[in-house]
């Protein structure tokens, strides 16, 4: 080992621990903020140790959402909205991509390359650059303030299709041949061989896409106008409003902690698939 000879072995650890502390610091402050009452925070001298209001704050945020100066839907409802949005986007992207990936790899048909390039090109058009016209299409279809309006436009995914295509190309032809000899049709092959083989790819995509869906911002901001449809991320911005000093910061911080919980938990618990998903979708 080269490093063993360079005496100052503790420096890397010091820098890394410093980094971890910088990363965690905002979360710690938010966590402490969610345990005090609005008055303590409003005076500008919030202590860095836990206060006595943890349970009250989380309960109020979860059940009511609103406080004295903050108006919002209950966090329970906003979390549910976010969950539905994230899961529909994730499931939708994975299912339409696995189907189209299957079609372009295992079949030969006119227009195959045309379709492939059509999907591929969408990589270059993130929703942010075409917001207004996309909004108009969705509004013409009467999908404003609906879950389908919130999710369907975000479901098309070039990355997932490319990932499945890449993986399918590595499946040996003998396997397909054997399945055909055993009398399996294309649908049977898909259902009983291809999908089970794609399990780890699906798990990896699930982590990446769930976070993508949960963290959507601009699109829900445009599509939802009623408070009951707000996702949790939008809800936090609405609660902050103009960011006055005298507002229910305790509730806002409790909501912030709750909003981070599902995606962070998924990344930490499914770390292996997360890293795989990140690396493979970015190839």
């Amino acid at each position: 080992m080269v490093e063993a000879r360079s005496g100052a072995g503790w420096i890397p650890h010091l820098i890394l621990i410093l980094g971890v502390v910088i990363f965690a610091f905002p979360i710690y402050v938010a966590l402490m903020g969610s345990t005090h009452d609005a008055g303590t925070i409003g005076r500008g001298r919030m202590p860095l140790y836990p206060g006595p209001h943890l349970a009250d704050n989380y309960e109020q945020a979860w059940v009511q959402g609103s406080g004295q100066r903050v108006k919002a839907a209950p966090v329970a409802i906003m979390m549910l909205n976010s969950l539905v949005m994230a899961l529909v986007i994730t499931a939708g992207k994975i299912s339409i991509s696995i189907l189209s990936g299957y079609a372009v790899v295992f079949f030969s048909f006119p227009l195959r390359m045309f379709f492939f390039w059509m999907i591929f090109i969408t990589l270059m058009l993130p929703v942010e650059v075409r917001i207004i016209p996309t909004f108009k299409v969705v509004s013409d279809l009467g999908m404003i303030n609906t879950f389908s309006g919130l999710t369907v436009p975000l479901i098309a995914s070039a990355t997932a299709t490319l990932l499945f295509r890449q993986f399918f190309l590595t499946i040996p032809g003998e396997l397909v041949e054997a399945a055909k000899i055993d009398g399996a049709g294309p649908l049977r092959f898909f259902k009983e061989i291809l999908v089970p083989l794609s399990r780890t790819n699906i798990a990896a995509l699930f982590v990446i896409l769930f976070i993508y869906g949960w963290n959507q911002y601009l699109w829900p901001l445009l599509i939802t106008t009623s408070g009951r449809m707000d996702t949790i991320v939008i809800g936090i911005t609405k609660m902050i409003g103009t960011g006055d000093a005298q507002t229910d910061w305790n509730l806002i911080m409790a909501t912030t902690m709750l909003a981070m919980l599902p995606p962070v938990a998924i990344i930490v618990l499914m770390q292996r698939w997360f890293v795989k998903g990140l690396v493979e979708t970015e190839k």
Partner: protein, 293 residues
């Protein structure tokens, strides 16, 4: 692409690609086409009539000082975010790479900010740097600094940069660490035997070998800073104070959704689309070249 062993079904493949193609057509190509079409039209103030004006919207844009200001601001913002998040990620990755056994633990402790939504990151940093209730904002005030990001444009920009970078470090860290771990240790040991110190080893061997990862991350980070940071800006400063944090993507939103200037906003969208297409094309050309090595 394609393979030798295939199924010979005539109709089925079309059914399989249909959902993807339908969504792509309706929500990608149709709106993108609309954006291009709209960018050549000028609407009257009541939105009743529109006129075909060729490249007028674009001409107005590129001579509009507000647009050019926003472009410069975006440049400053994305350069700072990219430099800050990639620089610190590289430092952490190099440190973690030296401690193989602890690297996994540090990885877990470093990756989770990736999961935090941009707008939530904004809420966290706002709570710390709020001039009257924020822990550090209040401390800065006490120390005699006139810290108030709601009045001072430079401070607002700084805060937006910090919040946006904080979230992106973990992504860069993962890729840098993977890149570092794929470098053969024998090369580095050989250099050490030849008498190269740690600094020299890093700059003459590790850094050049890492360049594909660095280039890839450069593209990803610029795209992130351009588009994905909308939530940070919207939640933290709303583009203000004045227009101090109004980046190009934020301006598309303000002009299109709030000021309802469809032609102008569409022209801006088209310019951004061309930018993304350009960046993606460069990336693919580069990756292809790398394959030929």
């Amino acid at each position: 692409m394609g393979r030798r062993v295939i199924f010979d079904n005539k109709l089925l493949p079309y059914v399989l690609v249909a959902p993807q193609i339908a969504i792509t057509l309706i929500f990608f190509f149709w709106p993108a086409g609309q954006a291009v079409y709209q960018s050549f039209l000028l609407q009257d103030p009541f939105g009743l009539r529109q006129r075909f004006v060729w490249f007028d919207n674009f001409r107005v844009l590129v001579t509009d000082p507000l647009y050019l200001d926003s472009a410069v601001r975006t440049l400053v913002f994305s350069t700072s975010v990219t430099a800050l998040s990639m620089g610190s990620a590289l430092l952490f990755a190099v440190m973690a790479d030296r401690r193989i056994r602890a690297a996994t633990a540090y990885k877990t402790l470093m990756i989770w900010p990736y999961a935090v939504a941009p707008a939530v990151a904004a809420a966290l940093w706002l709570f710390i740097f709020h001039p009257s209730i924020g822990l550090l904002g209040y401390a800065l005030q006490k120390a005699g600094l006139a810290w108030d990001y709601k009045i001072n444009g430079g401070q607002a920009m700084l805060l937006v940069i910090v919040a946006a970078s904080w979230k992106q470090v973990s992504y860069n860290f993962l890729f840098f660490l993977a890149g570092l771990q794929s470098i053969q240790k024998a090369v580095i040991e050989a250099a050490a035997i030849d008498g190269a110190g740690p600094g020299r080893r890093f700059w003459s061997i590790v850094f050049p070998l890492l360049s594909p990862t660095t280039f890839f991350l450069l593209v990803v980070n610029v795209v992130y800073a351009f588009f994905d940071t909308f939530g940070v800006i919207h939640a933290l400063t709303g583009g203000g104070p004045g227009k101090a944090t109004e980046t190009l993507i934020y301006k598309v939103y303000v002009d299109g959704v709030i000021n309802l200037d469809l032609g102008g906003s569409s022209a801006q969208s088209v310019i951004l689309m061309l930018f993304v297409i350009g960046v993606t094309a460069i990336q693919f050309r580069y990756i292809e070249r790398r394959v030929h090595y």
